[in-house]
C-alpha cells in the first residue's frame, strides 16, 4: 500500500449559500378571493431554509448531513444537485456529480425491468453503449435475474428499490448524492448498499449522504455536518457530530415533554380538588440523573433515580411504597415494592418522598410511565394509587438492537463497541 499523503483535493466547495422560500400569507383558493386580492400586494413570509452555509468536501470522503426534519438538509442537497438555485453564495463542484436524490427516477410501473433499467440509466446520464456494457452487472447486483422481463408493477416495492439502487451505483460518478435512501429494502440489502458505498470511498469517490439515522452516520461516514434551522451547528468528525445530534435531540425532547406535562398538570389539579382528602397523597414525581439533576430523557446505560413525593394528612402507623415501570404501550417492564424488598420505610416517611435508584438503565428506546401506590401493611388497601402517571421519561439508544431491552453482551470473547 502506498502511504504517500497528498494534500487531498477539494471536490465540493460551498461558500456562504443562502436559500429562502417564500410562503404566501394568504392563499387565493377561491375565485372570489383572487378577484378581491388581485390589486393587493401579496405578502410573503420568508422562510430561510439555508442560512449562510459554507463547507468543503474533500475527495474520497463519506460525508454525512444530519439534522431533524426541516433543518434544511434536503434543500442543501438540492442546491448541490442544481435542482434549486441558491439566493446567494457559490457552489463549486469539481468532478461529475450524480444529480439524483431519489432512487428509480423515471421508473414506470408499466414497463419491464429491462426497459426501466435503460430508462433510469439514461436519465442518470449513461449512454446506450454504456448501459449495454453494464446491463448484466446491474441485473446481477439487484439479484433480480428471474424477474427482469416482468413489468415493474408486478415487483414488490423492495425489489423495485433493489433494481433502482443497482442502476444508480452503476451510474459511476465521482460524487454521489443520496437522500435518505437507506430506509427501504430489507436489512440484508441495506448492508449491501452501505458496504457498496464504503467501496466507493476506496475507489476515491465521494459520497454525500443525507440521513437522520445516527447509527449510519457513526458507522459509515467519516465526516459529518449537523444542521439546525438552516444553520450549521457542528461540522467535523462523524462520531462527534453524531453525539452532538443525540444530545440536541435529547434537549429538544426534554423541552417537549416538560411542556406537555405542564399542560396536563393544569387539568389534573381541578379534578383532584373535588375529591375528599386522603390520608396520604402522592404529590409528584421527579426523574433524576446520577448527579441529582432533574431530567426526562436518558440514554441506555445511564443511571437514574425515580423520586416520588407524598404528603401525610392523617397519622398512619406504617407506610409501604410500590412503583411499577410501564412502557407507553402498556408493557409491564418491572416493579418494586418495599414490602417485597423488606425495606424499612421510616426514613422515607421522614423525608416525605421515596426513591428508587436504577443502575445502567437496560431499556431499549421507548417512553415509560409509572404505576405508583402507597399502602399500609395490607397490600390490598392503598392509601393512594396512581394507575398511570402523567409524567413520563424517555430512553434513547445509540446503537439499536431489536427488542425491548438493551443488554450488555459480548460475542464470545469479541468485544463489541457500544
Amino acid at each position: 500500500m502506498k502511504k504517500k499523503k497528498e494534500k487531498k483535493e477539494i471536490v465540493i466547495k460551498v461558500e456562504n449559500i443562502s436559500k429562502a422560500f417564500e410562503i404566501p400569507h394568504e392563499r387565493n383558493d377561491t375565485i372570489r378571493s383572487v378577484f378581491v386580492n388581485i390589486f393587493k400586494r401579496k405578502i410573503f413570509e420568508k422562510f430561510k431554509a439555508l442560512d449562510n452555509i459554507s463547507f468543503e468536501v474533500k475527495k474520497g470522503e463519506f460525508f454525512g448531513i444530519i439534522g431533524r426534519n426541516g433543518s434544511g438538509k434536503s434543500t442543501l442537497l438540492k442546491v448541490l444537485a442544481g435542482i434549486y438555485q441558491q439566493d446567494a453564495g457559490t457552489v463549486q463542484i469539481n468532478g461529475r456529480i450524480s444529480p439524483f436524490l431519489e432512487l428509480g427516477i423515471g421508473f414506470n410501473p408499466e414497463l419491464s425491468g429491462r426497459d426501466n433499467i435503460y430508462l433510469n440509466a439514461t436519465v442518470l446520464g449513461l449512454t446506450k453503449k454504456q448501459i449495454d456494457e453494464k446491463f448484466d452487472s446491474i441485473v446481477r447486483f439487484s439479484e433480480l435475474e428471474r424477474f427482469i422481463d416482468q413489468k415493474l408493477k408486478n415487483y414488490s416495492s423492495g425489489m423495485a428499490v433493489r433494481l433502482a439502487f443497482s442502476v444508480s451505483i452503476h451510474a459511476n460518478r465521482d460524487i454521489l448524492l443520496m437522500d435518505e435512501v437507506l430506509a427501504v429494502g430489507d436489512s440484508n440489502f441495506q448492508s449491501k448498499c452501505l458496504s457498496e458505498f464504503s467501496r466507493y470511498r476506496e475507489l476515491g469517490k465521494t459520497v454525500i449522504l443525507v440521513t437522520h439515522s445516527v447509527e449510519i452516520v457513526q458507522r459509515y461516514c467519516n465526516k459529518a455536518m449537523l444542521l439546525r434551522n438552516g444553520k450549521i451547528v457542528k461540522i467535523g468528525k462523524a462520531t462527534e457530530v453524531a453525539d452532538k445530534y443525540v444530545f440536541e435531540n435529547m434537549s429538544d425532547e426534554e423541552r417537549r415533554l416538560s411542556k406537555e406535562m405542564h399542560k396536563k398538570e393544569k387539568g389534573v389539579k381541578k379534578t383532584k380538588e373535588i375529591g375528599r382528602k386522603k390520608a396520604v397523597e402522592i404529590k409528584g414525581i421527579k426523574f433524576l440523573d446520577s448527579y441529582g439533576v432533574e431530567k426526562k430523557v436518558f440514554k441506555t446505560g445511564d443511571d437514574m433515580s425515580i423520586r416520588v413525593y407524598f404528603k401525610k394528612y392523617k397519622d398512619v402507623p406504617v407506610l409501604n411504597f410500590g412503583l411499577g415501570i410501564y412502557s407507553q404501550e402498556d408493557f409491564y417492564f418491572c416493579g418494586f415494592s418495599t414490602i417485597r424488598d423488606k425495606v424499612n420505610t421510616k426514613d422515607f416517611v421522614d423525608k416525605g418522598y421515596y426513591q428508587v435508584d436504577i443502575k445502567d438503565i437496560p431499556f431499549a428506546e421507548n417512553v415509560f410511565y409509572l404505576k405508583l401506590n402507597i399502602a399500609g401493611n395490607d397490600l390490598g388497601n392503598y392509601y393512594d394509587y396512581v394507575g398511570r402517571t402523567k409524567e413520563t421519561f424517555r430512553v434513547f439508544v445509540n446503537k439499536k438492537n431489536p427488542g425491548n431491552v438493551n443488554l450488555l453482551y459480548n460475542w464470545d470473547k469479541l468485544k463489541i463497541n457500544r
Binding site: I83, R96, F100, L101, I105, N108
Partner: protein, 260 residues
C-alpha cells in the same frame, strides 16, 4: 458555476424519453399504436360525412376529403404539440424535483413525441393520396415539409413560453383547451378559406395555425404558394416567437423546482 455537464448526450436522453412516452401512450389498450392513426381518422370520417355534401363542389374545394384530412392532421399536430409542451414540466415533475435534467430537454421531448405521432399520421395521408390517385408536385411536397418544420418551431416557442407558467397557474390548460377548440373552427379545416369574406381571410392568415393549414392544403392540392414576402415574414415571425419563448423560459425557469 458547475464545471461539468450532467449528461454526455442530451440527444440520447431526449430520444429515450420520446420512445418511452410513445410506448406508454397506448399501453394496455387493445389496438395499441393503431389508435395513434385511428383517432384522427375517425374524426376525419365524421367530419367528412357531415361536410362533404356542403363543400363538395365549387368554392375551390376539389378533393375535399384530402383537404379535410390534411387540415385535421396538421391541426392535430398543433393541438397535441402545444398541449404536451404546456404540461411537459408538470407531467415529468419528478425529473424536475428529484434530479437535475436541463428543463428544455423535457419540453423538447414531449413536443417531439407529438411530432412522432404526426409522422405516423403522414403515412395515412400518403395512403389516402394513393387511394385518390393524386400526386402533388415536388415543390409542393418540399414546401409542405418546410411548413411542418415551421409548425414545430411555433409549437416549441409556445411550449417554452408557457411550460413554466403552467406550473403555477394550472388554469392555463383549461383555458388553452377552450382556445384550441375555438381555433379549430377559426382555421380553414372543414371549410375552404374562400368561403370567408376577404378581410376575415386576412385575419385567418395572420394566425400561424391558419397560415400553415391553409397553405398546406393550397400547396399540396392546388399547387398554389404564398408570396415570397408573405412566407419570409412568416418564417421570421415564427423564429422570433421561438426566441421570445426561450427568453421568457430562461426568466421563469429559475424557481421551477420549488413551485412545482
Amino acid at each position: 458555476m458547475r464545471m461539468e455537464k450532467s449528461h454526455e448526450n442530451y440527444k440520447e436522453l431526449i430520444w429515450m424519453l420520446v420512445k418511452t412516452d410513445f410506448k406508454l401512450r397506448y399501453q394496455g389498450s387493445f389496438l395499441g399504436y393503431i389508435w395513434a392513426i385511428l383517432s384522427p381518422l375517425l374524426t376525419f370520417a365524421v367530419l367528412n360525412f357531415v361536410f362533404s355534401s356542403v363543400f363538395a363542389r365549387g368554392n375551390g374545394a376539389e378533393y375535399y376529403p384530402l383537404q379535410l384530412l390534411i387540415g385535421i392532421m396538421t391541426f392535430t399536430f398543433f393541438s397535441d404539440g402545444t398541449r404536451a409542451g404546456l404540461g411537459s414540466l408538470v407531467a415529468k415533475s419528478r425529473l424536475v424535483t428529484k434530479i437535475y435534467v436541463p428543463r428544455w430537454v423535457l419540453i423538447f421531448a414531449s413536443t417531439m413525441n407529438t411530432g412522432m405521432l404526426f409522422l405516423m399520421n403522414l403515412i395515412v395521408l400518403v395512403i389516402f393520396f394513393i387511394f385518390y390517385r393524386f400526386l402533388p408536385s415536388l415543390e409542393a411536397i418540399l414546401f409542405f415539409v418546410l411548413l411542418v418544420v415551421l409548425m414545430y418551431v411555433v409549437i416549441l416557442g409556445f411550449s417554452f413560453l408557457t411550460a413554466a407558467f403552467y406550473v403555477r397557474f394550472r388554469d392555463l390548460s383549461m383555458i388553452w383547451a377552450v382556445i384550441v377548440r375555438a381555433l379549430f373552427y377559426a382555421t380553414p379545416i372543414i371549410y375552404p378559406i374562400q368561403v370567408m369574406p376577404e378581410y376575415i381571410q386576412k385575419v385567418i392568415l395572420l394566425s400561424p395555425i391558419g397560415f400553415i393549414v391553409h397553405f398546406s392544403k393550397e400547396s399540396l392540392i392546388n399547387n398554389h404558394f404564398p408570396e415570397i414576402w408573405q412566407f419570409m415574414l412568416f418564417v421570421v415571425a415564427s423564429f422570433a416567437f421561438l426566441f421570445i419563448g426561450i427568453f421568457i423560459h430562461k426568466k421563469t425557469i429559475k424557481k421551477i423546482a420549488e413551485n412545482i
